[in-house]
């Protein structure tokens, strides 16, 4: 296990293998590929948030000179309701098809209706104006209140709420209702000395990846078609696109470009199927790029949410019951992570009585997509705010209350299993001992503490390590690198092989160079793909030993592998990796190792954040003045990139808490679809985010790794929210804590 093991490479802060190309501008992103004969695709988008399409006539556009092809929903071969694996969950292929190109109804402002490919962008844009669409405009349903009303206009006439014992009589915008429970909350609340019950609201937010969606594709009727795009999972792009176009998987090759951020938002398809149709119909390669406006209006944000949270505790600090009712916006099609909200909300607590009711609700906004720990930040925001308030009412330090009730190995979760070894207690203790927590607040400053829980996933990863005749090797993995994972793969392979880092080059193979890999999501890559790398490297070592044995004429078990060399334990002799590879020709051909895993036992990563803010009492502006992110990494393979994940999660969570939100007008048109008015935090808005890496090994990984990519976005919402409330002496219940909202709280308190 990791403590016993002495590492040569793991834990160092090495230089990332992709860094040089990225900082010198040589790395190729989604929009960087152009092909001979390539034409340009552009999308006609709905000017209404909710309308029936009465007529769609593309004939005038098709007739325009320079227009090469047109795509509408009718070009999608009959898609059914089958589920396809996409990103971090299965999605309904009919819904996916209807999101990619609207069928009979447009369901949000910006919903794609038709696409044109033309010789130039200008021609394509001009031709869009020649598409004739007649709409019957319907009343848009723009928030959870409106959508859940009994007489609300319906987005889907055929949608009946799932999750009740019997199908309800009338259709509804509530796609699903779920219950999660354990123990007896009534009895738990009856035992409590103090009960906190509050409502919370969080806004629609976007992942804010800097690189917009783009792709270049080429359809080939005879042989193989190709998609080049920026994605977190090119195998899932292949699955979704092939499904929508009724192609066998083997006929489609998807190449993942470098990716300029995804955060969960690049786990589904928008442009790729459309571009392939346009290419199929024109016989030309097609390139499509969204602009920022389209990214905001038509790609998937994270759910806006409303929740009621009730928690009860005894004077001695025992939390006796925790309960919540949660509603999440799914956007235009079902499938918000509402239930995940219920599963995560109270998991940091060892409380026997828990009840969660969750609602997945459709509204006339873009279909939500995954965003870092999808579903957890909203629910845990409410839970953590309520727990902090409970601590205050009980007169107990908020870290102590959390320590007293902390989930640990053996704690029963509301969603089923008992937790294995986890590091929440260690994170809370680290918080308590941190210089930050020991810093006394000055007049006018506030402090918030919050925990965060995320499951993490494992799943399928495949890796091949191909050794070269000079003893160097290529690590072919299938996990797009969005957070520096290539560096970690290189370190893990070097650790096993004992050869220098730079002798191993990690690359992201396309869908035909390597077997299926699940997408880079769920914080799975360093854990699961890392396991496949270790397995592949061990396979290579095994073969190197065999080859050395045959050269020495001994048995493989008489050969030991040490620091990159084979040692003959039966006699004299030592051979380096390079020497063995150079003689491969004589010992049976070239060497490659494989690791194909379906990794189980992803260890959850708990996080604890401490945030201090200062509020301008006359303007309501919040300054984050101190921030510390503490999280369990199991084992930090590359500490700098682990810290980067903590800081990135914190920065995004702070943005969510402070200023980010979709602003809609009454017609359902987003009014701030750009980075000028959709206010993500800038570097100058944030203090240094201090980090503390906690390492409680995950026994299911050879080095003890836990994924760290997501938990860090969970605590900031409540850490910031509670801190602001503490600074101004009022209760924060709605995010973001934008200046007008905070000023209002200050004024109301008088």
């Amino acid at each position: 296990m990791s403590e016993a093991k002495k590492f040569n490479f793991i834990g160092q802060r090495t230089i990332r293998p992709d860094g040089h190309d990225k900082v010198t501008g040589k790395a190729n992103y989604a929009a960087d590929l152009s092909l001979p004969g390539m034409i340009w695709g552009k999308i006609l988008r709905s000017p209404h948030a909710h309308a029936k399409i009465l007529k769609l006539d593309t004939s005038r556009a098709e007739a325009m000179s320079g227009v090469m092809s047109v795509a509408t929903f009718d070009d999608l071969p009959s898609v059914s309701n089958e589920a396809i694996q996409s990103g971090e969950g299965a999605i309904d292929s009919l819904d996916l098809g209807r999101n990619v190109l609207a069928r009979d109804k447009v369901l949000y402002h910006g919903h794609a209706i038709a696409a044109i490919a033309a010789k130039t962008v200008a021609i394509a844009e001009k031709a869009l104006e020649l598409i004739d669409v007649e709409y019957e405009v319907l009343t848009p349903v723009l928030d959870l209140h409106a959508a859940m009303k009994a007489d609300a206009p319906l987005l889907h006439e055929d949608m009946f709420t799932q999750g009740y014992p019997e199908q309800p009589e009338k259709p509804s915008n509530i796609a699903a209702r779920h219950e999660l429970k354990m123990g007896d909350v009534e009895a738990g609340f009856a035992e409590a000395d103090v009960i906190v019950e509050r409502d919370f609201v969080t806004p629609t937010v976007h992942q804010g990846y800097i690189e917009p969606h783009a792709c270049t594709v080429s359809y080939n009727t005879e042989g193989q078609s190709m998609v080049w795009c920026s994605t977190q999972g090119h195998f899932d792009v292949r699955a979704s696109t092939a499904k929508l176009l009724a192609m066998p998987l083997g006929n489609l090759k998807v190449i993942a470009s470098e990716i300029g951020g995804g955060f969960g938002g690049k786990t589904t398809v928008y442009l790729e199927p459309i571009a392939l149709i346009l290419s199929r119909k024109s016989g030309r390669p097609v390139k499509m790029m969204m602009d920022r406006d389209e990214v905001f209006r038509a790609s998937g944000p994270a759910s806006a949410a409303r929740l009621t949270v009730k928690v009860g505790g005894k004077k001695d600090g025992t939390i006796t019951a925790m309960q919540t009712s949660i509603a999440y916006e799914a956007g235009a099609f079902k499938g918000s992570p509402a239930m995940i909200g219920g599963m995560t909300a109270f998991t940091p607590y060892n409380c026997p009585n828990v009840y969660c009711e969750t609602f997945d609700v459709v509204v006339n906004k873009p279909k939500v997509a995954a965003y870092r720990a999808p579903g957890a930040p909203q629910a845990e925001f409410g839970a953590e705010m309520a727990v902090s308030e409970l601590a205050e009412k009980l007169g107990i330090d908020p870290v102590d209350l959390r320590l007293q009730n902390a989930a640990k190995e053996g704690t029963q979760t509301v969603y089923g299993p008992k937790l294995k070894a986890v590091g929440l207690v260690e994170c809370l203790e680290a918080a308590k001992n941190s210089p930050h927590y020991k810093t006394e607040l000055k007049e006018g400053e506030g402090r918030g503490i919050a925990s965060g829980f995320w499951f993490n996933i494992g799943g399928q990863s495949s890796v091949t390590i191909n050794m070269n005749p000079d003893g160097t090797g290529t690590i072919v993995e299938g996990s797009p690198d969005i957070g520096g994972s290539r560096a970690s793969m290189q370190m893990m392979a070097s650790e096993e092989l004992g050869i220098p880092l730079n002798d191993l080059k990690p690359i992201i193979g396309d869908t035909e160079s390597i077997p299926y890999n699940q997408s880079t999501g769920g914080s799975r890559t360093t854990f699961a793909t890392g396991m496949a790398v270790i397995e592949a490297a061990q396979d290579v070592v095994h073969q190197l030993k065999e080859r050395a044995a045959s050269l020495w004429n001994v048995t493989p078990d008489q050969v030991e592998w040490r620091d990159g060399s084979a040692i003959n334990t039966a006699g004299e002799g030592q051979m380096t990796c390079a020497e063995i590879c150079a003689k491969c020709e004589k010992t049976g051909g070239q060497i490659s190792g494989t690791g194909n895993v379906n990794a189980r036992g992803a260890g959850p990563s708990f996080a604890v954040h401490v945030c201090d803010t200062k509020v301008d009492m006359e303007t309501g502006k919040v300054d984050v003045i101190r921030y510390t992110a503490i999280q369990d990494a199991g084992k930090a393979i590359h500490p700098s990139y682990v810290e980067g994940q903590f800081q990135g999660g914190a920065a995004q969570g702070i943005g969510w808490a402070l200023n980010e939100e979709y602003v809609y007008n009454d017609d359902g048109v987003m009014e701030n679809a750009g980075f000028l008015d959709y206010r993500i935090p800038l570097a100058s808005d944030l203090p240094m985010i201090d980090t503390i890496i906690v390492e409680v090994p995950n026994n299911f990984h050879p080095y003890g790794v836990r994924g760290v990519g997501e938990s860090g976005i969970i605590p900031p919402l409540a850490a910031v929210g509670y801190s602001v409330g503490d600074a101004i002496g009022a209760n924060v219940s709605e995010l973001p804590c934008s200046p007008p909202r905070v000023l209002k709280l200050i004024q109301e308190k008088g």
Binding site: T619, K621, S684
Partner: protein, 290 residues
């Protein structure tokens, strides 16, 4: 717009000559940080860009006992390094320093900020507070218009299509005068003012305010000169009571809209806070420049 022609005249006369052509629309350009973005708008109307940066005097300034005469196309990056200007008009220098980012300031000019006439333009309240005048040149010669009268609406100014802004002139402030400009944005940079306030005050040797100008931005279709706010300061020692009265007068004068950047209610409140704070800073500075 589609840019189909680019001209870089060497003199004002040549520039005006080009502006008089009626074949296609001409657009004057200083740094282009507003103009180039506008040319990317959907419409395909052909335009000619007339770059002013090669005309003598457009990029330079003079500062003497009579005041400042500023070439309207000088970059904010250069303007904000002028220590002599900063000593006399610190608030104006600060307003230019708030525009965009270092990169944007390398191109953006005060003249462009003024002519573009955005309600949220940062330098306009600071110019008004300093009593700046626009020297306009056209076919019929020169005319001079006060900045508060120059801007006539959202993205509108009083110039004809064949006129251009030649100089921005400002009187030398009386002894004991200084200024300040503050804006409110929810972040620290790269944002557009939710409200802005430029204030100039003159204090006599006893610390009493003898003259003041207060201008507010982003709370009406144009920046407003608020005489009531100035009057609230004049005759006082710029104490808390006077500052509160000035703030109230500014809030009362504001006619903001609610949009994605802020509600009308919020802007009305915050502009008062900014006036109060800017007046306080201007007074502190004025006490130092006897």
């Amino acid at each position: 717009m589609a840019v189909v022609d680019y001209q870089a005249p060497q003199s004002i006369e040549d520039a005006i000559g080009i502006l008089q052509k009626t074949d296609i629309k001409s657009k004057v350009m200083a740094g282009g940080t507003d103009l180039i973005i506008q040319t990317k708008s959907q419409t395909a109307d052909p335009v000619r860009v007339v770059d002013l940066k090669h005309i003598d005097g457009m990029m330079s300034y003079t500062l003497d006992d009579g005041g400042m005469s500023l070439g309207p196309a000088m970059s904010c990056a250069e303007f904000t390094t002028l220590d002599d200007v900063k000593a006399v008009y610190p608030g104006l220098s600060e307003s230019a320093y708030l525009i965009g980012s270092t990169q944007v300031q390398g191109r953006a000019s005060i003249g462009g900020n003024l002519c573009n006439a955005s309600p949220a333009a940062d330098t306009i309240p600071a110019l008004i507070a300093n009593g700046a005048q626009c020297v306009i040149e056209g076919n019929n010669g020169e005319r001079v218009v006060a900045v508060e009268d120059f801007v006539t609406g959202v993205a509108q100014n009083c110039m004809a299509s064949d006129e251009l802004l030649k100089r921005i002139s400002m009187p030398r402030p009386a002894p004991g005068t200084s200024d300040a400009y503050l804006r409110f944005i929810p972040r620290t940079e790269m944002d557009i003012a939710v409200a802005g306030a430029g204030v100039s005050v003159t204090l006599d040797s006893s610390g009493k305010c003898t003259a003041a100008r207060v201008a507010i931005g982003a709370v009406a279709v144009t920046a407003l000169l608020v005489r009531e706010a100035a009057e609230a300061l004049i005759g006082t020692a710029v104490d808390e009571q006077a500052l509160d009265a000035a703030a109230a007068a500014a809030s009362a004068a504001a006619k903001p809209i609610t949009d994605r950047r802020g509600t009308a209610e919020y802007r009305t409140h915050v502009v008062g806070v900014l006036v109060k704070r800017a007046a306080k800073i201007a007074a502190e500075r004025a006490r130092g420049v006897k």
